[in-house]
Structures are given as structure tokens and as C-alpha cells.
């Protein structure tokens, strides 16, 4: 035990800093915040997928199908999936470019955005087609799960596109903060990353 140094000067120590508070970012704040959100979102989709799996396993033989003829368009959706994955890869590239020279990433971000938008639009077209064939959210349990899970993902994708679009706009204006881009990237990777799981589980 060390000897006491006696009473010491008060709290207003000369070494203390003036306002504003020093922030010691041990990790980028926006990434950590976004990762926590993504973690909760992953659990949301895990809940949906597990509900799907359990209900499917409990279905009586022959009941796990769509009411009328159509099966889910797995092949056509493979194209959408490719677009989405490509968009994710492009965004990785954009991040690298941004770190070297921010302005050089502008077009890559735009391209990633466009591919993401293609995905969302094609998914929407697929829904219109299925609805036209009479598959509604109420017509079978498989149909309910299909609209619920794919719809939830579509909403997330649309929201992420808004964020990515803002990032692109600010990048063009030169007002983009690295934190914002990192946050938007993190969320977009999540949207891209859960899709193959959904695709593999729900469409086949």
C-alpha cells in the first residue's frame, strides 16, 4: 500500500480539459451504433425464419404449398439476388475508394444504389405477378410467411436505399461525413447479407 500523499487539490485540476468533452472513440461511434441496431434486426429475421421453419415442419403432409398452381419463382429471383449481391460488393469497393480519395467513390456508390434499386423494383414486380395469380397473404400459411418475410426484407432494403441515396448525394456535394457513410454501409451489408438466407429458406 502506498503512503498517503495527504489532501490533494480540488477537482478543478489544471490538466483537466476545457469543454467540450473529450470523446475517446475506441471504435467509430456510427459503426457501433449501427451494428447494435443490425444485431437486433438479425434477431428479428432469425425469429421470422425460425417461425417459418417450425411451422413448415409441423405442417400436415400436403398442406405446405401455395393454394393455386404457382410455385415461388425461385429461378427469376436468382437474378434479383445476383443484383443485390453485386451491389454489396460494389459498396465494399466504394468504401475502399472513399478511404483513398473521397470523391472517387461517387460513381461506385451510385452504381451500388442502382443495383439495389433494381432488386427492390424486381421484387415488387414479382409480388404483383403473384398477386395477379391469386396468391394473397391469407390464402395459405406458406403464402403468409412469404409475404411477411420477403416484405419485411423489402422494407428494410427500401429504407437502406434512402440512407445510401443520402450518402451519395452528400458525397457529390462534398458534405459526407465518414461516419454517415460507414453507418449506411453497415446497414446495407446487413440487407445484402440476410437475403441469401431468406432466399434459400423461403423459396425452395
Amino acid at each position: 500500500m502506498r503512503a498517503a500523499t495527504g489532501r490533494l487539490p480540488g477537482p478543478m485540476d489544471a490538466t483537466a480539459r476545457a469543454l467540450p468533452a473529450p470523446r475517446r472513440e475506441v471504435v467509430p461511434t456510427s459503426v457501433l451504433g449501427m451494428l447494435l441496431l443490425v444485431g437486433a434486426e438479425v434477431m428479428f429475421f432469425a425469429g421470422l425464419i425460425s417461425a417459418f421453419t417450425i411451422t413448415q415442419a409441423g405442417a400436415r403432409p400436403g398442406t405446405w404449398r401455395l393454394p393455386s398452381e404457382p410455385v415461388l419463382p425461385a429461378a427469376a429471383t436468382a437474378f434479383n439476388t445476383t443484383a443485390l449481391l453485386a451491389s454489396g460488393l460494389l459498396l465494399v469497393r466504394a468504401g475502399r475508394q472513399y478511404r483513398r480519395e473521397p470523391a472517387s467513390a461517387t460513381n461506385t456508390v451510385l452504381l451500388a444504389w442502382v443495383l439495389g434499386a433494381v432488386f427492390v423494383v424486381l421484387q415488387g414486380r414479382e409480388w404483383i405477378g403473384l398477386l395477379g395469380q391469386g396468391l394473397t397473404i391469407r390464402s395459405s400459411t406458406l403464402g403468409s410467411f412469404f409475404y411477411l418475410i420477403v416484405g419485411a426484407h423489402g422494407l428494410h432494403a427500401a429504407g437502406a436505399l434512402v440512407g445510401l441515396g443520402v450518402a451519395w448525394w452528400r458525397l457529390r456535394q462534398g458534405t459526407l461525413s465518414p461516419g454517415f457513410l460507414l453507418g449506411a454501409q453497415t446497414f446495407w451489408y446487413f440487407v445484402v447479407g440476410v437475403w441469401p438466407v431468406i432466399y434459400g429458406r423461403v423459396y425452395f
Binding site: 475506441v26 457501433l32 444485431g39 432469425a46 425469429g47
Partner: protein, 74 residues
């Protein structure tokens, strides 16, 4: 020894350990298997993600803390 044998028998033929005949007759249905596997997924997933983020934080915090000299005082 008796315990080992009993455990082995019950382990190999778990149906013998079931008090409820209905379950033993039902065996492991697809539905039960799905429940068990999804339970495992739902449990492992958050813990795995937390562990991942925690490891990442731990590394960075250690680096940040090393800058502050002195010792941990608790």
C-alpha cells in the same frame, strides 16, 4: 458402475426414460426437431454476435487503455 450402465442404456434408448407414453410413441417428430434446432439457432445467434462485437471492442479498448498509464485500481 451401475450408474454408468444405466446412463449408457438410457442414452442409447432414451425412450425408456420417458414417463409419458404419448411422447415416447410420438418419437422425435419433424416438428420437435425443428423446435430444438431453431431453439439452438436463436440462442447461439445473439450470443455469437455479442461475442463478436465484444471481442472487437475488447481489442480496441485495450489499445485505448494502454495509452493511459497507471494501473487498474479495482
Amino acid at each position: 458402475m451401475r450408474v454408468v450402465v444405466a446412463t449408457a442404456i438410457l442414452g442409447l434408448a432414451p425412450r425408456a426414460a420417458l414417463a409419458c407414453s404419448a411422447c415416447a410413441l410420438a418419437g422425435i417428430s419433424d416438428n420437435a426437431a425443428a423446435y430444438v434446432s431453431m431453439s439452438l439457432v436463436l440462442t447461439a445467434l445473439p450470443l455469437g454476435m455479442v461475442l463478436g462485437v465484444a471481442t472487437w471492442l475488447y481489442r480496441n479498448i485495450r489499445r485505448a487503455d494502454r495509452h493511459a498509464t497507471g494501473s487498474i485500481s479495482s
